[in-house]
C-alpha cells in the first residue's frame, strides 16, 4: 500500500527559500534582509503516527528496520537535516558536512548519529513561511539495496498530500494569515482522519467549496465523483479567468542575450447543475501566435488531444506546430480550480529597459530608460520600478529626476520606488536620471550577490484584459451541456513576475543555461 508512517507539522522557523531570497519576493526590501534566523522555538503543531503501517514497514525492512523515535527527537533530527538547528553555530559537522547531499525531495534522518547507518528515509518535507510539513513515506520494497526514490509509489502520494495540506493551510497567498491558519489548524485532526485514514492518503482537503449551494446528491444511477461533495443548485454561472505572468532578465549587454517568457493559468469556477455536467473551455491564439507549451491540466479534464501536449519549452519550437484551438472538456468540481496552465515564448518583452550606474566617489550616477512595446495596451492598473541598493551606507542626498510618474525615496531601505502610474506618455518612453550619494551614518541593507556595480531594477505591473501570448477564452466558446443556459464570465490579465533589468556596467548573474550553451 502507498502509505505514510508518520506525518508532522511544525511551526517556528522561517528560512530563505533561495540563494538570493529577495529576488523572489514580491516586495524585495520590505523584509529585513538578514540571515532569516528566527529564534523562536519550533513546536510541533500536529502529528500523527500510523502503527499498522509501521508494522508492515518493520516486516519489509527486516533487520534494517528503524523505528520512529519520539516527537522531540524527530523534531531535532528534522531541523538538523534541514540545516535549521543550532543557528547560532557557524559550523556543525552533523548539520553542515559537505557529504550530506541534500538534493532530493526526501531527507534522511540519522537516528543514532551519522555513522550508525540507522536512517529514517524517505522523509518528505514542504516548508512555507514558518510552517514545515513533513511525512515519512513507507518503503514498500526490500530495503537493501535502497530502492530508488522514483520507484516508490508512496513518495508521489506523500508529496501530493503535503502539497494539498499546504495549500489548505496557507491559502493561495504566499503568507498564511494568522487567524485563518489557527482555525484551519484546529480542523487538522478531523481532516486527516478523512483524507489519510490509517496512513493511506485518499484525498486532499478542499478549499473554498461553497457549501451553501452544494446539496446532497439525489439517489440516482449516475455515480457521483468522489471529488465532488454534492451538486450545485441555483443559477448556472461559469467563470473563466486567464492570468498570464511575464518574467524577464534584461542585461543591456551585447554579449548576453536578454530573456523573457510567459506562463499562464486558466482558473475556473463553475456553478452548474447535475451530478457530472459537461463543460468545454476552448483557448484560442491569434493567427500567427506561438503555440502554448508545457500544458498541464487539472485531473477533472476528461480527455485530451495529443496535439495539445506536443509543444514543449525544452526543445526548439516548430513553427508548423499545432497552435490551437485548445479544447478542454471537463466536469467541474464545486470549488474554484486551475483548469490548465501553459508556458509560452513571445517575440518581445512588454517593457524594454536599460539601466546604467557609474560609481563616482561614493556617489552613484543613475540612468534608466524604459520603453513600452507598441503592441502592449497602454493601460496599467499599476506600474512601479524598484531600484534597491545594497552593501552601501544609507542614502544621503538623492538628486534624481524622472520624465514621468513620481519618485518615492526610502532612505533606511536604500530603495528608490519609481511609481509610473496607469499610463506611459504618448512616446511610450520614460527615463530616470540623477545621482545618489551614500553618506548616511548607518550601513544599509546587504546582499551577497549585489556587490559593487551589480544592481537591478525590478518592475511590478498589472495590465487588465491583456495576454502577451494573445491567448484568450472567447465567451461563446465555453460550452455547457445542461438544461439551463448559464451566464458565462471570462477575464484576462497580465502580471509581472521576476521582471529584472540589470545594470549594464556591472556583472550580472546568469539566470538560465539556455543562453550560455
Amino acid at each position: 500500500m502507498p502509505q505514510l508512517r508518520l506525518w508532522t507539522l511544525l511551526q517556528g522557523f522561517s528560512r530563505p527559500t533561495s540563494l538570493c531570497t529577495h529576488l523572489h519576493q514580491r516586495a524585495p526590501v520590505d523584509q529585513a534582509h538578514t540571515d532569516s534566523v528566527n529564534l523562536c522555538p519550533v513546536k510541533t503543531l500536529d502529528k500523527w503516527r500510523y502503527p499498522t503501517v509501521e508494522q508492515r514497514a518493520k516486516c519489509m525492512a527486516g533487520s534494517l528496520y528503524v523505528s520512529v523515535p519520539e516527537d522531540g527527537t524527530v523534531l531535532q533530527l528534522l531541523l538538523t537535516e534541514m540545516g535549521l538547528s543550532d543557528s547560532d553555530k557557524p559550523y556543525m559537522a552533523l548539520r553542515d558536512d559537505c557529504l550530506h547531499q541534500q538534493r532530493s525531495p526526501a531527507l534522511e534522518l540519522h537516528v543514532e548519529g551519522p555513522s550508525s547507518g540507522r536512517v529514517l528515509w524517505p522523509v518528505l518535507v514542504i516548508s512555507q513561511g514558518s510552517l514545515i510539513l513533513a511525512c515519512l513515506a513507507m518503503v514498500d520494497a526490500p530495503a537493501d539495496p535502497r530502492p530508488p526514490l522514483a520507484s516508490l509509489f508512496s513518495v508521489s502520494q506523500g508529496l501530493t498530500l503535503l502539497a494539498g495540506l499546504q495549500a489548505f493551510l496557507c491559502g493561495s497567498g504566499s503568507k498564511p494569515d494568522r487567524e485563518g491558519l489557527t482555525s484551519r489548524l484546529a480542523m487538522m485532526p478531523s481532516i486527516l482522519l478523512q483524507i489519510c485514514p490509517l496512513g493511506t492518503p485518499l484525498d486532499i482537503p478542499q478549499l473554498g467549496a461553497s457549501s451553501a449551494s452544494a446539496m446532497p446528491t439525489p439517489a440516482g444511477t449516475q455515480k457521483q465523483p468522489a471529488w465532488k461533495t454534492g451538486v450545485h443548485r441555483g443559477r448556472a454561472v461559469v467563470n473563466v479567468a486567464l492570468t498570464e505572468m511575464v518574467r524577464s532578465m534584461q542585461y543591456g549587454n551585447r554579449n548576453r542575450q536578454d530573456l523573457w517568457d510567459v506562463y499562464g493559468t486558466v482558473t475556473c469556477k463553475c456553478e452548474v447543475e447535475g451530478v457530472l455536467p459537461n463543460v468545454t473551455v476552448t483557448l484560442t491564439l491569434p493567427p500567427n501566435g506561438s503555440p502554448l507549451m508545457d500544458v498541464l491540466v487539472h485531473p477533472c479534464v476528461s480527455s485530451l488531444d495529443a496535439s495539445i501536449l506536443t509543444a514543449m519549452s525544452v526543445e526548439d519550437c516548430d513553427s508548423s506546430a499545432f497552435s490551437g484551438p485548445y479544447k478542454f472538456p471537463f466536469s467541474p468540481p464545486l470549488e474554484p480550480f486551475r483548469l490548465c496552465s501553459y508556458t509560452s515564448q513571445v517575440p518581445v518583452p512588454p517593457i524594454l529597459g536599460t539601466y546604467q550606474l557609474k560609481d563616482d566617489d561614493n556617489q552613484l550616477r543613475i540612468t534608466v530608460s524604459l520603453k513600452l512595446h507598441e503592441s502592449v495596451r497602454n493601460s496599467f492598473e499599476y506600474c512601479e520600478a524598484h531600484l534597491p541598493f545594497f552593501n552601501r551606507d544609507q542614502m544621503g542626498s538623492v538628486d534624481v529626476k524622472v520624465s514621468s510618474g513620481q519618485l518615492e525615496v526610502s532612505k533606511e531601505k536604500n530603495l528608490l520606488v519609481w511609481v509610473l502610474g496607469q499610463k506611459f506618455p504618448k512616446s511610450r518612453e520614460v527615463s530616470l536620471e540623477g545621482s545618489v550619494s551614500f553618506s548616511g551614518e548607518h550601513p544599509g541593507p546587504t546582499d551577497p550577490l549585489c556587490t559593487d556595480l551589480t544592481a537591478y531594477i525590478k518592475l511590478y505591473f498589472r495590465v487588465p484584459d491583456l495576454t502577451l501570448s494573445g491567448c484568450c477564452v472567447d465567451q461563446h466558446s465555453v460550452q455547457v451541456y445542461s438544461s439551463a443556459k448559464p451566464r458565462i464570465v471570462t477575464s484576462r490579465e497580465l502580471l509581472s513576475s521576476e521582471y529584472f533589468i540589470w545594470n549594464s556596467t556591472g556583472t550580472a548573474p546568469v539566470s538560465s543555461g539556455h543562453m550560455m550553451l
Binding site: 500500500m1 528560512r15 540563494l19 502503527p51 508494522q55 519489509m60 519520539e70 516527537d71 559550523y91 553542515d96 559537505c98 541534500q102 538534493r103 532530493s104 525531495p105 518535507v125 520494497a141 530502492p147 522514483a150 520507484s151 509509489f153 508521489s156 502520494q157 508529496l159 501530493t160 478531523s190 478523512q194 485514514p197 490509517l198 493511506t200 492518503p201 485518499l202 484525498d203 446528491t217 449516475q222 455515480k223 457521483q224 465523483p225 468522489a226 506562463y263 508545457d294 498541464l296 491540466v297 487539472h298 485531473p299 476528461s302 480527455s303 485530451l304 514543449m312 526543445e315 490548465c340 508556458t343 546582499d447 551577497p448 556587490t451 538560465s512 543555461g513 539556455h514 550560455m516 550553451l517
Partner: protein, 961 residues
Amino acid sequence: MSANWPERISAFSRSPSQFLCSTTSDIFLAEVLHELRDDRASDHIKVLLLSPLLEHPTLLCPSVSVGEETALELMSVFAQCSPKSLPLRCHLLLALTSVLLCSCCVSSHTSASQDFLDLLLQMAQDTNDAQAGAALHPLRTTACDCLRELEACLPGLLSQRLELLSTLRQQENSRLHQAYTGLHALALRNAVYLLTQQKGSGAGDLKGALGSNEGFVWGEGSDSAHPNSESHSDLALFSPLTLGPMGKVPSLQTGQDCKELRSLLSSLLEESYLLTSLSQAALLRRLVEVLAMVPAVSPTIFRAQLLRLLGTCKVCLLHTTLLMKAAFTDSLFSAEDEAFLLKRLVGLSQHPLLSTPEKLFYMDCILHFPENRPISSSDESLPVLLTPRLAAALVPTVFNDSVSMLARLNLLSLVYLEEGEEDREGQGGRGLAYLYDHLTSLLHIVENQASREMVVTFFRASFLFLLHFCHVERYSEDLSQRLCDLYLRRTRLAPHLINLADRTQDRLEESGWAVALLRALQRTITEAPLSQLTLQDLRWHLRILARVAEEGEVLQKATLNFLLCVITSSSSALCVSGDWRLGNGVLGVCRRLLLHPSLDSLLTPLADLLQHLTCHYGETDIQDHARLYYTLLTTLSQEKLAGVLAQRGTERGRQAKVRSLSAIMGETEELTSGLTVHQTERPLLRLVKHEPDDCKPDHKPDSEPACETESSPGQGGIEEYRAQFQSSSFASEITLQYHLTHTGVHDPHFDKLFSIRLHFDLTDSHYEEVSDISVPCLFRTRKPPTVTLRLKPKQPYHTTLRASAIFTTEDGLSWHSPLADLNVAFPEVFLPLLTPLGWAREKKQRVFEGIWGEICSGQSEGDLTNAATSLFCDQLEDSAVGELVEKHFQRYLVSDLDKGRCKVLFFLPPQSHVLLKVITEEDAIQVHIATDNWKLLPYVNSYLEDITKESHSTQQVNGDV
C-alpha cells in the same frame, strides 16, 4: 480527573516513554477504558482518549491477550454508543483496527477480530444507504478503510469475497464508491498474487476467485493455525511487484480466456476518472500489478487513459504513468512516447508553476528513468535520450534554492561527464566550463558575507563538482587556488575547508586533490604577511595547520617557521597574553609534528619552538605541556614517540599508556577522547537473583525500642503496630540479593575486573532513586560476590531497573557496560507483618483481625478510602494447598495451616497491606482478599493465578510420574 485528560493525552503523545515513567501502561490503559465507558464523558474527550490506542497500540496492548481484552471493551463501547456520535464511532473503528492488527489478534485469528470483521462487513454492505441513511456515510467509509487496512496487513483475507466486493462497488452510487473501489482493487491484486503462487492454477481458478463469495481467509491457508504477522516470509505481498529487485513478476498462465477479468478491469478503469487523484493513482497502480501478473490481458487497455495522465498536473498521477512504463515498457509505450515522456519530465523539472519538492522529484525520476531498453543498471544513470541540449534547461543558477541547485548540478555533472568522455581530451566542453563558472559565482557570493546556508551549499557544490571532475586539472587546480584566496578573506571557513579536504580524501583517495589543497592552504597561511595577522585568524590558521601536519607527504618546514615567527616575534603579544586556547592550538600542531615522518629534519626548529613556549608562554599549563613534549622529543626515538602519542592503530596493550599520558594531549578534544570510558559491545556482567538461606526478614528495625513481651494484655495491639510507622524510616525498604557474575561472553581481557560500580536507573517513578553499589573486584575464577540492593518504594508495584556497570580492567582502561534489565516482580515487594520483637502469635493475629475488620467494615480510621475486598477461587487439592502455603506463604503466615485454613499478611512498603484468608474445601481453594490499597488487586490476582497455576503443573508432573 477528567478535567486534565487533554493534558494527559497530549503528554502521552508527546513522549510515551516519559509519560509511562509515572504510571504503567496497564494502569493507563485501564484508566482510558474506564473513562471511555463513563457516560458522563463527552464525545470529544472520548475521541481524544482513543488517540493513544490509535498511535501507540503496541505500547498499551503488548500481547494478544491484552489486545483481545481491549478490543472487546472497545466493541462494547461501540455497541453502546449513541448512533449520533459519528466521530466517536469512526474513531472506535480505527482504534479497533490498530489494536487488533498491532497486537497480532487478527493474525492469531482471535474471536474479537472475527467479530470485528463481521461487524465491518455488515456495515459495508449497506450500499446506497438502504438501511441506515446518508448520515452514516462517514461510518461506512471508515468501515471500508478498516477493511482495506486489514486486507493490506493480512493479504488475502478477503480473497474469497471478491464477488461481494465487486457487487458493492458497482451498486454504490454516492461518493463512497471510491472506498469500495480501493478495497476491491487491493483484494483483487492480492487474490491474483496468491493464485500465481499456487502451482498449476489457470484461467479456471481465476474465474473462480473472481466469482467467489465464501468466508475470510485467515493466514496463509486455513490449516496453519496462526501465522504471526511478522513471519510473512512472502514480502511480495506487501511490495509492488513490478519493481521488485529482480524485476521478476510471477505470472498466472490463463491462456487467452479471461473475459471476466478483462471486463472487470475495464469497468474499474472507466470509473477511475471519478476518483480523487490520490485514489486514482493507487487504483491504477493496483491494476498495473494485476496486469503484470496476468499476461493474457494486454496492457493496451490503459491506452485510453494515457493522454489524460500524461497531461496531468498531479505528481501522483504522472508518477503512475512512469510506473506503468517501467512495468510494460514497449508493449505500452512506443519510442516516441518515451522521448515525449522524458522531455515532459525535463520540462516539469523547471516548470514555474510547480513546487520545489515536485520539481526535485521529477529530476529524480529523470535519473531513474524507466527506459524501454536500458543499457546500464547502475544506481543513477542518465537515460540515453537525455542530450546535453535537452538537459541545458536544467543548468544550475544562483537563482535556484540550494537543494534544487545541488540537484541540478548533480544532473548536469553526469551529463557533461558523458560528454567529456566523448571529446577525448578530458578537459570538458562548454558545459563543464559553465558549471565551473557557476561554482565560481557561488564562491563570489560566499566571499561577500553570504548566509550560513549559502556557505554550506557552496561547499556541497564544490564537493559534488570534485566528485565528478576532479580529474580535470584545469578546474580542480584553479578551484583549490580560489579556495585558498577565499580562506584568507574568510578564515572562519576553516572547518568547512577541513571538512571538504577530509571528504575528498575519503572519496577520491587516488586523486591527491585534498593533499594539494592542504599544501596550498599551508603556503597561503605561511606566506601571508604577518603584520596583518589577527588573533582570530591565528586561531583558525592553527586548526588548518594541525590538519596539514597530519599529511605525511606535506613538508612541514614552513609551518614550523610560521609558528616560530608568530611565537617569538617581538611584536607578538601572543606569548604575553597567555591565551590558553591559542596555546593549545599551537601545541596541537606540535603534537602532530612529533608524529610526522619527516620529524628528523624538523628536530631543531621544533625543539626551539617548544623550548620557547616552555620558557616564555604566559600560561603555566601550556608551559608544562610544552616541557613534556620537549622532553619526549629530545629523549625518545621516533618510533617510541609514535608509540606514545599515536592514538589509532595501537593494540590494546598500548592503550593503557595512552590513557596514563592523556594529560599530555594538547587539544581539548583529544584530552576528552583520552579520558573516554570505553563501551563494551555486549553486556559482560549480569545479576543473578540469590535467595538467602534464612528466610527471616532482616528488616527488623534495630532502632526501635524493644517492647516488653506482653504489653498491655487484652489491647488490640493495632495501635501499637501503627505507632511503629511514626518513624519514617520504619519498614520503608525492601532488600534483594543478587550474585554478580560474568555473562556467557568469554573474553580473557575481562576475566579480572576491578572497582566495579553498579548504577541503576528507574524506569518509572514508583521507587526512590537507587544509590550506586560498589564491588571491589570480580574474578572469573572466584566465587561471585553478593550484591545487596535496597529499594525504597513510593508505590508498591513491580518495576524494572535499568542497570549498568563501570569498571576497570587489568590494563587500567575504564569500561562501561550495560546489564540486562533487572525485573523486580510483584511478590518480591512483599514483607511479612512487622511487629516489635517478642510479640506473641495471638497478638499478631489480633493485628490481622483488626486490619481485616477495618477494611471490611469500611469504617475508616485512617485513610482507608482505598480499601477493597475480593475473592479468589481455584481448584486445588488439599495436599497441593499445603505445598503452596509452605512454598509461597511461609514467611507471611499469621496463623498456621489448620484444617485447611490459614491467614496470610503481606506488608508492602511504604504503607500497604494485603491480607489473605485461605480456606480449602475438598478440591477447591478460596482466598479471601482484603487490602487497604485497591490498586493492588489486579496484581494480587495475577500473583495468585500464577502460584496456583504453578501448583497445577507440579500436580500434573507428580501425577504423570
